[in-house]
């Protein structure tokens, strides 16, 4: 059997996501403060830690744990990030519902499902200086690695590096959507907070999965 990970590790995987966002609360707000409201870290940490509490002491599948995260974001934080990340995680969950183990091909569908669900409520794309600059290249990198016969582990590595490159690309972009778009040229030279948080999430997810891979 090809590399895969058991789906009953959902609570641990999502708890790691909670930890990485909470640990970066101040950093995300600082990045956001340069061209936004400065509350990205505060709101994200609020929503993610709400999910952390509901996961405590429970052994959930990946789909169930992602559902809890979606609920915490959709009901716990509003703004733009609640519906955006909520849509991403519900789209991911829908692709792995009822599965015992998740291989590379399934994980590719999880990523694509999350992106498609997000695109359902947002028209943003690469170049808009937003989380899509991280997410779209990361999803495509994983899919391409898969298609070219790379191992699950190798595909995760390529996804991580595409995510970081995507995040860094926002430094040289002029914001086209969201509150920063009002700044025009003045938004140049700083990272987009959503692209940064998305990179933290994808990187952490890749590392959690990699640590649980079995042949």
């Amino acid at each position: 059997m090809s590399e895969h990970f058991p789906s009953n590790t959902g609570s641990a995987i999502v708890t790691n996501l909670v930890s990485i966002i909470v640990a970066n609360r101040e950093y995300l707000s600082e990045v956001d403060g340069a061209i936004g409201d400065g509350d990205h870290g505060i709101n994200m940490a609020k929503g993610f830690s709400r999910c952390g509490k509901t996961l405590e002491g429970r052994e959930l599948s990946l789909a169930e744990a992602l559902d809890e995260l979606t609920l915490a974001l959709m009901e716990g934080i509003g703004g733009s990030m609640g519906p955006l990340y909520g849509s991403l995680f519900i789209g991911m969950a829908d692709e792995v519902r009822g599965r015992d183990s998740i291989d590379g091909a399934t994980f590719a569908r999880l990523l694509r499902g999350g992106l498609t669900s997000l695109q359902d409520i947002s028209d943003a794309g690469v170049g808009d200086k937003c989380l899509m600059d991280t997410l779209i290249p990361a999803v495509e990198a994983f899919e391409q690695a898969q298609a070219s016969g790379a191992t699950f582990r190798e595909a995760l590595h390529r996804m991580k590096s595409a995510a970081s490159q995507g995040r860094d690309s926002t430094r040289d972009l002029v914001a086209k959507i969201g509150r920063a778009s009002r700044l025009g040229e003045r938004s140049l030279g700083v990272l987009d907070a959503g692209a940064v948080s998305c990179c933290l999430i994808l990187t952490n997810l890749a590392e959690s999965v990699e640590a649980r891979l079995v042949a």
């Binding site: 703004g79 519906p83 409520i121 509150r179």
Partner: protein, 333 residues
């Protein structure tokens, strides 16, 4: 940052506690502390009016819940859209069987959360329609009017929509007049100092001493020009010009003027500014039917003022004069 708060992370929760204690005519909806409704519901068969938005703009949004205005409001974090769940619960709180008009401002977060809330409502076979206010002339050129933000003109949309609902208009009718109020309305703001979200602790934009920013948004979104602070008369002229250039108000019977402080402006200065506005409107041959001067739609402790004009036809004129009662606006017969 000197503020009158307990915990910077809980300012919205703590404010809501005070609102409910001070105003027994308002209540929380079921188990959702972020939805506030009238204690006495509108009669069965009346169209429900819902709005919602980020906190920090008080008395907007929750201060416009009351007879002749809004039935239920979704409350967000400071400068951040309410959740989709809260909009959905507000729909449920306001629904008296004749459908719900969700009248809100054009911001990315609100658009997404309302869209998701409408999906939830559709699955319960509820009839929800929306009007999105985009009255801020400084936020996009006329060719991109759909991108404009909603600001203080939202109050006219609620007033007109709420009056129409109370008069027995059906949902189509309420939506039509609320949209007409938006179409007949233009606003612009000027900011003289920045504002600080308590949990952030420092302003996220700067306005240098002695300067002011024309066209600044309700969350400090950059305006169209930064100029030295000038007299109230010159400010009135500078703010009226883009409003009058954007829409022909001479085609209307008369106009309604709304002058709102942004939070830190002395009310005295709002009246100094208003006198200049009315004088200049009169000089241009525009008749003022009614005016509202005060802190109607604020941005925390920003110093500055917003100016909104609403052009009236016979229907809008009749509806704007209807009675209403709320924290933010009360008028008798």
């Amino acid at each position: 940052m000197n503020r009158v708060i307990n915990d910077a992370d809980l300012v919205v929760e703590d404010m809501l506690a005070g609102i409910l204690l001070a105003h027994p005519e308002l209540v929380q909806y079921e188990s959702n502390p972020r939805v506030i409704r009238k204690r006495t519901s509108s009669p069965a068969g009346q169209v429900g009016i819902v709005t919602g938005g980020g906190s920090g703009h008080e008395p907007a949004f929750l201060g416009y819940v009351g007879p002749g205005l809004v039935d239920a409001v979704a409350v967000g974090e400071i400068f951040s859209s309410p959740t989709a769940k809260s909009f959905f619960d507000a729909f449920r709180a306001a629904d008296q069987g004749a459908g719900v008009a969700c009248l809100y401002g054009n911001y990315a977060g609100d658009n997404m959360n309302v869209k998701l809330a409408m999906k939830m409502a559709a699955s319960k076979a509820m009839n929800i329609r929306t009007v999105v206010a985009n009255d801020d002339v400084a936020s996009a050129p006329p060719a991109e009017i759909a991108k404009r933000r909603g600001v203080a003109g939202e109050i006219f949309m609620w007033k007109i929509g709420g009056a129409a609902a109370a008069q027995g208009y059906d949902l189509d009718g309420v939506i039509r007049v609320a949209q007409k109020a938006v179409d007949h309305c233009r606003s612009i703001g000027v900011g003289l100092t920045p504002c600080t979200i308590p949990a952030v602790g420092k302003p996220n934009f700067q306005i240098a001493d002695g300067l002011m920013e024309l066209g600044i948004g309700h969350h400090g979104e950059p305006g169209i020009e930064v100029v030295p602070v000038e007299s109230a008369a010159a400010m009135a002229e500078r703010m009226l010009a883009p409003i009058l250039a954007d829409r022909d108000f001479t085609q209307d019977q008369s106009v309604v003027v709304l002058v709102s402080g942004l939070g830190a402006t002395p009310v005295m200065e709002l009246y100094i500014f208003y006198a200049e506005v009315e004088r200049q409107l009169r000089a241009k041959g525009l008749r003022t039917h009614r005016c509202y001067v005060g802190n109607y739609f604020t941005s925390l402790e920003m110093m500055g003022v917003t100016l909104t004009l609403l052009g009236l036809d016979a229907e809008l004129s009749r509806l704007i004069d209807q009675p209403c009662r709320s924290i933010g606006m009360t008028q008798s017969e």
